[in-house]
């Protein structure tokens, strides 16, 4: 659990870090489009190259990113396995008992898990280069149009920000509680599915208790600083779109254009 840094911010001053959070959120959606438009392996290769370019500009060590998506890697693996065994198209490569692996299933397994891995990289890059405060700021701005129909954009963004902010705290706390229970002889490694499930209770209960305690304390701290929701609240850092933000949009647009052309031409 110690290396789980999903959603954790990795401070820096790179261009990617400095990009306006609103633009970044928008570009993440753009990035999803890139990944889904990409036709075949050649398309994914282009998106991969593009992702590497962003990583290079973000000046984040590759290992850090890899570590951040490690906990979700099992989803990629499961996707690959399901496709490998349940897609039946093309010629059969392996046909043993009820396991049938075909050329089509191998293609789908690689294609979909590659696509999923790219999506994870994209998401991880967003949270690694954007502080939770910036992220919520951006989200709040993007959701503001919905306020007209009564959607509490500010409150929603605040909740999201708090959740992101406390994720690493709870990770730490879970690790600590686990150790404390281990010191009392708890065994989390052995036993069957059910005993293992039960053995999690001594971690979960204190974790929930501490979540409620944190919530109480935080609510008190916010109230004592006169927080009363979004109405009439001004901000210290007003977001402004700068030249490198336009450049970022342009780069993404070019990438998307390339992929659409590739798709149309049928590469």
């Amino acid at each position: 659990m110690g290396n789980l840094i999903l959603g954790q911010y990795c401070p820096g001053t790179s261009v990617v870090h400095r990009t306006d959070p609103r633009i970044k959120l928008f570009l993440v959606i753009f990035y999803l489009a890139l990944v889904f438009v990409a036709p075949g392996f050649s398309g994914l290769a282009v998106v991969t190259a593009f992702t590497c370019l962003i990583i290079f500009f973000a000046k984040i060590p590759f290992r850090t990113i890899l570590n951040s998506i490690k906990p979700l890697l099992f989803i990629v693996i499961i996707t690959a396995l399901i496709n490998l065994f349940f897609v039946h198209s093309g010629e059969a490569v392996v046909d043993w008992m009820f396991f049938t692996i075909t050329t089509g299933s191998i293609y789908m397994a690689i294609f979909l898990s590659w696509r999923l891995a790219l999506l994870l990289f994209g998401m991880s890059l967003l949270t690694l280069t954007t502080s939770p405060i910036d992220l919520t700021d951006g989200a709040e701005h993007l959701m503001r149009p919905f306020e007209r129909i009564g959607f509490p954009a500010h409150e929603f963004a605040m909740m999201m920000g708090i959740a992101l902010r406390f994720l690493p705290v709870f990770m730490d706390e879970a690790a600590k509680i686990k150790k404390a229970q281990e010191a009392r002889g708890a065994d989390f490694e052995s036993g069957n599915f059910i005993t293992r499930g039960k053995s999690i209770i001594p971690i979960l209960v204190p974790l929930f208790v501490s979540a409620f305690r944190h919530a109480d304390e935080l609510a008190m701290a916010m109230e004592s600083r006169c927080y009363h929701g979004g109405v009439g609240r001004t901000r210290m850092h007003v977001l402004a779109i700068k030249n490198h933000d336009y450049a970022a949009i342009a780069v993404f647009a070019v990438a998307l254009a390339c992929l659409i052309v590739m798709r149309v031409v049928g590469l």
Binding site: I177, D187, P202
Partner: protein, 282 residues
């Protein structure tokens, strides 16, 4: 059951700077070892090595001469004999009754139901709580200080021969602190080996039989409280201090007094000053 640290180095997987560097010392039976050091000096990392929660990257921890890193049986044995009380132990309470929570450790040891009840009863009595009154209550119905005592009982119920405590008094009011401190001392007097991490120099100076000072993962000084606290300058350099009475005695000596070394409490200071001035020593 002496526990020996033999050139222990430990690095957390996420960082390249080792949290402990070449630590060697031995915890002797029946001693009261105080561990002091600035925040981030590796105290918590160190104590987690005592019962094998963390295993050294280099070097070894020997319990009864057996390396607990390579020997699984020895490690399990050590977990039973070394009770580790983390900071704010009340945050690890989880069961719906005090009985179940205190009995968690003994149950993990695989003891029978009757033996568990006996141990829970003893442990609760030991921390000054009545089994009849609290056994069936939820641990969350108690005050902060009482919850800490319940958590302590949870460790004691495993009947360890070594008790390791990480800042056992943190966040308690003066009376709570005093109660816990007195309780730890009585355990020590009964023959239990105590290892205590503390930020309170007075507590360490008065109660510990030996003190280890950590600085950035290395042992800066070790010795009796008298030896360690006679280096106020070095201690101040690593962000620590000396007991108030010791500091005052040092200043008096600089002004021409000749007070003996090793003054840790106000009473000792008063006696020494009185003796120096030819007054009555109580």
């Amino acid at each position: 059951m002496p526990i020996t640290f033999d050139h222990v180095t430990y690095s957390y997987p996420s960082s390249c700077e080792p949290a402990l560097r070449d630590i060697s010392f031995t915890i002797e039976d029946g001693e009261f070892l105080g561990i002091i050091g600035h925040t981030g000096s590796g105290k918590s990392t160190l104590i987690q090595h005592i019962n094998g929660l963390l295993l050294p990257s280099k070097g070894s921890v020997l319990v009864d001469g057996m390396d607990i890193a390579s020997n699984r049986v020895a490690r399990r044995d050590t977990r039973r004999k070394v009770g580790l009380v983390f900071q704010y132990p009340e945050y690890q309470l989880f069961a719906d009754t005090v009985k179940a929570d205190v009995g968690f450790g003994p149950r993990n040891l695989g003891l029978g139901e009757e033996e568990i009840i006996t141990r829970v009863r003893q442990a609760l009595a030991r921390v000054g709580l009545s089994y009849e009154e609290c056994a069936e209550k939820s641990p969350f119905d108690f005050s902060g200080g009482q919850r800490r005592r319940i958590a302590l009982a949870g460790i004691l119920a495993m009947q360890p021969s070594v008790l390791v405590l990480d800042e056992p008094m943190a966040g308690l009011d003066p009376r709570g602190r005093e109660n816990i401190m007195r309780f730890i001392c009585s355990l020590h007097e009964e023959g239990m080996t105590i290892v205590m991490v503390s930020h309170n120099m007075e507590d360490v100076a008065v109660h510990a039989t030996r003190v280890i000072t950590l600085k950035k993962g290395e042992i800066l000084m070790q010795g009796t409280p008298r030896e360690v606290f006679s280096h106020p300058k070095e201690l101040r350099d690593v962000g620590l201090g000396v007991p108030l009475a010791t500091a005052f005695a040092t200043e008096l000596n600089e002004c021409g007094f000749a007070l003996p070394a090793g003054i840790f409490t106000l009473e000792e200071l008063a006696d020494a000053v009185a003796a120096e001035l030819g007054g009555v020593v109580s």
